[in-house]
Symmetry: C2
Subunit: 222 residues, 2 copies
DNA sequence: CGACAGTTTGAACAATCTCAAGCCGCGTGG
DNA sequence: CCACGCGGCTTGAGATTGTTCAAACTGTCG
């Protein structure tokens, strides 16, 4: 009885095997702004997000920050080596399923369907990461922001949520760190999109896509 | 009897199971500049690189290119959905082990150790991709080039090859597309490193790291 | 009501790109 | 064996995108 069962990695586990999973799982809550994974610390747990939004980020010594991804309900977090290579912070109140890393290999042995699913997800994430590298290396500010809005919108649709007014649970700074820009440039790009009629901003964190074809053209496909 | 056995995914397959692998494998050769994976085409095969160097790249409609990674002996290529999300081109003459995608799932069922290994590699690649996103989003040109040289050098060392004179099998343009810069900026950065005594350039494609600590400082860790 | 975090806007600045030209090394053909 | 041509590399000067620094605005929460 998990809200995100249908989207999460558990979706491939047969009902009669669920108890295997349940035995090693702890449900954890995190308030907004809680940092529940710290870059560099021993990777003790894997997480499956059942509710809320999370940002995953990395820091450079001088304080520069890169947001490596935003995660939502159903997403899996924690594929890593011995230590976390990233930090994770709750953007909203968040509910998490937590698996101890030690027991995880046994778990995979017992639930081969989940292992296969995990490989599939890792592969999807890799694909998304490659797309993001292309964005960061070769797209202009406008193209980046347009791509970002469209991909958030289609993610919502994939989850069966409304794809059009897009809620942004993250700040402009988070978006900037995700897109390799500054807060100011992100903000300017939003207002320029608004002035050109591509979007409407009811509030700063609620974007209505009023001209998807135009945005799609700006984003150069995807 | 494969040159790259020790580094490749096959390293975890027991000797008595090797015939299972051998049955579905074809050895393929590619000459330099051969594009043997085409973005957007049905993903028919997985590859394990046994000799040579490969660049993996993506194109934007207007011709802009992003190099998503360079692969060397022992590396695995092809985790993807139904269609390849990238192209792959041989930088040098290359030898490949090719697995048909259709038989791959059966293969994983029979060789669980290989599936586990694959998950580990996907996880490592993901980590590298995140590092690269940080580089592309938040590092300066000098930092990017320094990071690039150091990571090539340490990859060589990990493979038991000499880590110091680093051979660059790719062109300046390839490096630029990998680092989100232009050919000119890459070239200028190389000569500036040379003038500052951090490297020596015997030829354009052979770099001697004469001041690793300095480079490491320029790269901001890693 | 006041404070504060987040957002927006403006103007000057700088890193990197663009365009253009010259250089180098290498393979080819005379 | 040497001249030629070509691709890739380097260098220069000017243009541009996005950054930086600074200030005003908004709305949310005590």
């Amino acid at each position: 009885m998990c809200e995100a069962r249908a989207f999460s990695i558990c979706s491939v586990v047969k009902n009669e095997d669920l108890h295997v999973l349940a035995r090693s799982t702890t449900v954890v809550e995190a308030a907004g702004c809680d940092v529940f994974v710290h870059e560099g610390e021993p990777a003790g747990y894997f997480f499956s997000i059942t509710a809320g939004a999370v940002k995953v980020f990395k820091l450079l010594p001088n304080g520069r920050r890169g947001v490596v991804g935003f995660l939502f309900e159903g997403d899996f977090l924690g594929l890593a080596g011995e230590r976390y290579a990233f930090s994770a912070e709750a953007l909203t109140p968040v509910r998490l399923c937590r698996f101890p890393r030690r027991r995880f290999c046994d778990l995979l042995d017992r639930l081969p369907a989940m292992e296969r699913e995990l490989l599939g997800r890792a592969s999807d994430e890799l694909k998304a990461a490659q797309e993001q590298m292309l964005l960061l290396g070769r797209k202009s500010a406008k193209e980046r922001v347009a791509s970002f809005l469209l991909s958030l919108s289609s993610r919502n649709e994939r989850l069966g949520l409304p794809g059009n007014p897009v809620r942004l649970p993250m700040t402009r700074t988070d978006i900037a760190d995700y897109l390799g820009l500054t807060t100011e440039t992100v903000s300017r790009t939003f207002t320029s999109f608004r002035n050109e009629g591509h979007i409407r901003l009811a509030e700063a964190s609620l974007v209505q896509l009023t001209d998807r074809p135009g945005l799609r053209a700006l984003a150069i496909a995807h």
